[in-house]
């Protein structure tokens, strides 16, 4: 017993010490720190209490309270136990009442959430099938919420009601076929209903053909989206990942002059890589000279990078990397050559396609989004249209839906003039995953026509001879992509 007492006071000391130490080591400024780069700290900012600060204080107050309670209990408990030899706190009672309190508080919390966030339960549906999903949701919610409330209340109520009492014996009750049959059959019936309803909803959404649907291609890449409209001929041009060139043909469309230009560049690249491979020893010599002129102190990272490069050349990594690159480009050239003769592929249908950085839709017009991915799996998520579909490299996926509300309508309904529909990525796809969205505008047919008129064709009809006309920049807001950003054409000779 004595040992115990010493131990627990040690525990108290340790816990308090941890608290104090952490509190001092973690000043408020951790949570609201001024930019260290700026010399002048704006005065009012120092005194404003953000939510973060409040939460921070609340946390420490709570932690301190909890610790105090513990210390209190141990002191009083130990002292009175010594005096009377009886336990002071009846934990059975405390726990039983806590069960009731938590049940009531939890119920209040759930009710509050439902009232406060109830309107968010699902965002306003803006597509035709969205209503059927919401209907399905409401049925499921009705059943599950009832079960949730009943079972949780019973659980905590039993905990309170049948708490341990001196001299009482539990019922020797271990089996009742009737009861067990009932609670197997009833859930089975409810679930049968949900399955059947779910099946018909799912079938209606995914397997009902929509002959009048207009097609839009949505192209996902690290990290962004592009949309392609079929143009006046209402026919999409063929595309292939081997034709992709971020500067001139970012969707890899089958446009002969552009693809030929890409092939020629690739051939030149391969040639240069071959030269590099043959002259590795000369390059090594030159780089070693460069290195001797530099120093770690003066150049820092550039120096260590160059050292690493030299090391790679010496141990053969560089050579094998170059060979791999050449092989890869060789395969790509072969594939391009093989498809260049394919008239079905290079049928000029791509010429009037329109690549856009926004998606515009006509209200009440069915659409099929055909999804293509450039690099990794993305997921095209449009919660307001109740639509999501993975975008998978090497596999075309699609989703058909009908928008029923214009952007303007939604802005009015939500009383939020800033509201916009977005299509964003929901499948982890890299570091900027959270930054991958494209705006969707739903409007009337005339507004749509005015917008699509302004979008540039992939190949302008006025100058059909122009080889490799840039396909990007169709929208004024598009960020210019430069070839510098990709090392598709690397060369050792470049740079230094």
């Amino acid at each position: 017993m004595k040992k115990m007492k010493f131990g627990w006071s040690g525990a108290k000391l340790l816990l308090l010490a941890t608290l104090l130490l952490t509190a001092t080591l973690t000043p408020i400024s951790v949570f609201a720190q001024a930019d260290p780069a700026s010399d002048v700290i704006p005065a009012p900012k120092e005194f404003s209490l953000s939510t973060a600060d409040l939460v921070y204080y609340a946390y420490w107050v709570l932690a301190a309270l909890v610790l105090l309670v513990i210390v209190y209990i141990f002191n009083i408990g130990a002292a009175s136990e010594k005096l009377t030899g009886r336990t002071v706190i009846n934990w059975t009672k405390v726990n039983a009442w806590l069960a009731i309190i938590v049940l009531v508080a939890g119920g209040a919390g759930v009710a509050y959430e439902l009232v406060y966030h109830g309107k968010h339960l699902l965002p306003e549906a803006a597509s035709k099938h969205g209503d059927s999903i919401d209907n399905m949701f409401n049925w499921t919610f009705g059943f599950t919420f009832a079960v949730f409330v009943i079972t949780e209340v019973l659980l905590f109520w039993f905990l309170f009601k049948y708490r341990n009492k001196e001299g009482r014996k539990a019922a020797y009750f271990f089996h009742n076929n009737q009861l067990e049959v009932i609670w197997t059959i009833v859930p089975a019936i409810v679930l049968t209903f949900l399955v059947l309803r779910g099946y018909s909803t799912w079938h209606a959404i995914t397997q009902t053909p929509e002959p009048k649907a207009k097609q839009i291609e949505v192209f996902g890449y690290q990290f962004g989206w592009k949309a392609r409209y079929a143009g006046d001929d209402n026919k999409f041009g063929e595309a292939n990942f081997n034709f992709i060139d971020p500067a001139t043909n970012e969707l890899g469309l089958a446009i002969k002059p552009t693809v030929i230009a890409l092939r020629d560049t690739l051939m030149a690249d391969t040639h240069r890589l071959g030269n590099d491979l043959r002259n590795l020893s000369a390059i090594l010599k030159k780089k070693a000279e460069d290195l001797s002129k530099m120093s770690l102190a003066a150049d820092g990272k550039a120096y260590t990078d160059l050292m690493q490069e030299l090391e790679d050349i010496r141990n053969g990594n560089k050579a094998s990397e170059l060979r791999k690159m050449m092989k890869r480009k060789g395969v790509q050239i072969q594939r391009i050559n093989a498809s260049l003769g394919n008239r079905d592929m290079f049928n000029e249908a791509a010429n009037d396609d329109k690549i856009t950085t926004e998606i515009h839709l006509i209200k009440d017009q069915p659409y099929t989004f055909r999804y293509r991915a450039r690099d990794v799996i993305h997921s095209a998520y449009m919660p307001h249209f109740r639509s999501q579909m993975n975008v998978v490299p090497g596999m075309m996926t699609s989703f058909t839906f009908t928008p029923t509300k214009t952007t303007k309508q939604m802005q009015d309904e939500l009383k939020n003039p800033e509201f916009q529909f977005y299509l964003f990525c929901a499948k982890i796809c890299g570091s900027a995953h959270y930054n991958m969205k494209i705006k969707i505008v739903v409007e009337s047919e005339s507004e749509y026509n005015a917008w699509i008129e302004k979008q540039k064709r992939v190949i302008e009809p006025v100058q059909p001879e122009a080889p490799a006309a840039p396909a990007t920049g169709t929208d004024t807001t598009a960020t210019p992509k430069t070839a510098k950003n990709n090392n598709a054409r690397p060369s050792l000779a470049m740079g230094n």
């Binding site: 973060a52 939460v55 099946y199 999501q388």
Partner: protein
Amino acid sequence: MSTAAAHGVHADAHEHHHESFIRKYIFSTDHKMISRQFLITGIVMGVIGMVMSILFRLQLAWPDQKFAILEMLLGRWAKGGVLDANFYMALVTIHGTIMVFYVLTAGLSGTFSNLLIPLQCGARDMASPFMNMLSYWFFFLSSVVLCWSFFVETGPASAGWTVYPPLSALEKAMPGSGFGMTLWLAAIALFIVSSLLGGINYISTVLNMRTKGMSMNRLPLTIWAFFFTAILGLLSFPVLLGAALFLIFDRSFGTSFYLSDIWLNGVGALENVGGSPILYQHLFWFLGHPEVYIILMPALGITSEVIATNARKPIFGYTAMVISLMGISVLSFIVWGHHMFITGMNPFLGSVFMFLTLVIAVPSAVKVFNYLTTLWRGNIQFTPAMLFAIGLVSFFISGGLTGIYLGNAALDINLHDSYFVVAHFHLVMGSAAIFGMFSGIYHWFPKMFGRMLNNTLGYFHFWLTFIAAYLVFFPMHFMGLAGVPRRYYAFSVIPEFNVWLEVNQLITVAAILAGFAQVLFLWNFFYSIFRGKKSTENPWKANTLEWSTPVEHIHGNWPGEIPTVYRGPYEYSREDREEDYYPQYIPGEDEGHGHGAPKTKTAPVHTEDAPAATGGNVLFSALKKVFGFSPR
């Protein structure tokens, strides 16, 4: 078998052996020591996983704030005190991996299967103690490899715990897909080896090494749960190993199992054609879904035992409990497609998987109702173990019900990969399973360490964790319904999501509170190992065999003969007995009215020294008994 028999014969001799430190504490083949090793490694990994979650929660709640402390802790991963986006992904990924595999699979199932299977079945040790030791050391090695990946220059794997290719297959797709990903795959391969070695052992011990009188229908529900868990693991983990090997091939040897038609920024068009990234998802989820039950079922088994013992009542519907466990196990193999409704899989397949998935709700509902009826008219002892078991039931209800939304393909269109999913699985397999694990720790701590945990700290631990867990995960449902996707580094990009900032802050504060509550537990745990009150032999007045072993651990578990079992494990509060418990090992004329009463009064199934039946026979006769289609 022969090993165990040898143990039996030499049990007394072993007692007097002096074992070297290494033999006793490190390369021990004793199942009790191995279970402690699993538990402590699991706890260490759990703390790492929890700290990670708090780190990325800070980013989600205060995306623009600079936390000097982060830079102190993480260095280049949090320059200027702001978490790096790449490292955020790494944290999310490794948090998931650690929690799913290292804490809730190895830490939970590894600990309690090892401790309880021999003790509750009445065996001297596992069927193959050496393999058991290997199982732990492979697990340990795997943990080390995974933690090592934090010290790789490009950072640990960051493609999400499911590591979907092509993101995880292409080194240039993200920094975490470099060497960190290779280490992840190596760690998982080692982990699978560990899990298989353990699983084979558990199954053969349960089938072949039960003591006299321990027929399958007298097994405690814990053992049934571990038994089904081991079978699930044995059948599904090899598939993940296959998936991982294909991925290793794609990454390192230029194959195209999962790759096709890719143009990668910084590389160009890749040579790979003909593979399918969806193939990986099928293989992964063929493990992934049973894995959910590999995590949950041991927790459910522990809960059954703890609730019956502490309600001082027989578990209600023993047979139904076993059949529902079996139903869940079988169904768990044919529902993996519900993770893939919107991958572009044929929609018809989607409807099949929807049907099968929702069927699982039936056995789950039966389990919940049986727990409730067990509590009804009980005499509930509020031990911390009991409270945690109740917590599990609560989470199992609230998390399980949302599964009905996600299993419905039509609703999944909108909820897939949103915070609704995060809320769902953190409640039903995260919180529920971890509460089952805590329940087991509080209940069997006296058996593991011969000392008692402090109850008062246990109560604080429970209530704080319980409330905090609901505060963390319940609001996430609403975020998910509003269309907030998971694994986002910041929500500022979509203006509509800004309304959730306050909720995110609440969640983070609750997460910190939960972390604080675990400090109470850690203190209680490690302090009590050395200084806790000495335990008595049967502190909870439980019926099962493990409480007939001496408090001080000995090799071979029982000093003399292994006790014979006379009745089922849940004979609590019998009218004809003064005490409210009736241990399985106390001889008595009356064999009990409940389950586990033998159909005839003839000899027990088989004895330890003369195995009467092969594993297959025993399983078959057990199935017969459980389903009751025996001709008698």
